[in-house]
Amino acid sequence: MKFAVQDAAKLRRGSRPESVILFSVAHQMFAIAADSVQEIRSADSVSGAAHEIDRPEMSKVRHTIERNHRTYYVVNAGAHFGLPTTRPTLVLILRQLRAAVLVDRIERMTEISAVHPLSRAFTGQERRWYRGLAYLDDRVIPVVQPSGFLTADEFRRLDGAAKAAASQREMEGAVQA
């Protein structure tokens, strides 16, 4: 334990604390900056207002939700990170992005002393997924990059699909009327 205590002290040194929300997906813990999350809702409470969206090549997004006259794309965090399928119970609605994230549970809100950049050894998609790594309570936790959930290209393709789905719903509504 001596090593862990010394390491924690060194990792804390010379950095500014940041509030994060710790959440888990498929027993894997992640952190996200608290100020990048606008709202946390239960998945059940938003499911009634969700619309299906059909992009077979982007299986991580199956639904949209409307909040404050904006359409948010709901990203399944498990599918995004390539984790085993779970039953998410909560939705994190992000603040400056039209994205919401399905997660299994919120662990707690806490402060981290620093976000350590990813080593150059990491060369894959994680460079987009994470801002870096945090060391908290003897654990290394990836700090997610909110803008990494959907790329600009993915937003563009989803916007097209959402528009088509909305037109379809309007047509179906007109036929029923």
Partner: protein, 156 residues
């Protein structure tokens, strides 16, 4: 070159990973760390098994020893911490090894034809010929492979 400098140039750390013994130039080795917790999280980088925290740094752990020779990482008790080159930059990285390793001095010989490029030479120690590895070349070679076969699988 002074005797001390020559000894540094010809010094190697001898290690074991699984059933394989190999040597690394001592100049790239920072330390042999005791058993530490391996932290894992989702990523798609080949060869990276996770990270360890050592002396206030979060270091990547490479599962760099070729698969047939390596044992289970959790069964390997020590971490060799070495400097790896990434283009112009270099970073400390770790590889899991068995046992504590030895420091040896010897003359490196040219590798026999047919060995992979990451084997930069051989070292004759006690009747045994050990391959001297260039860790950076080994990592670069093995990392390059899977990229040609579509999206990488997520590792945890």
């Amino acid at each position: 070159m002074s005797a001390a400098e020559k000894s540094r140039v010809n010094s190697f750390v001898l290690l074991r990973a699984g059933d394989r013994r190999f040597a690394l130039p001592a100049s790239v080795v920072a330390e042999l760390a005791p058993p530490l917790q391996l932290h894992t999280f989702p990523h798609t980088s080949p060869l990276v098994a996770g990270v360890i925290v050592r002396r206030g740094r979060i270091l990547p752990v490479y599962d760099a020893v070729p698969a047939p020779s390596r044992g289970n990482i959790s069964a390997q008790r020590f971490f060799l911490i070495a400097r790896c080159e990434f283009g112009a930059a270099s970073e400390l990285s770790a590889i899991p090894v068995d046992g504590e390793g030895e420091l040896a001095t010897g003359e490196i010989e040219l590798p026999p034809a047919g060995l992979p490029k990451y084997v930069v030479g051989t070292l004759a120690i006690g009747g045994e010929s050990l391959e001297v590895l260039d860790l950076g070349a080994l990592i670069a070679l093995q990392s390059a492979g899977p990229q040609e076969h579509g999206p990488r699988e997520v590792q945890r």
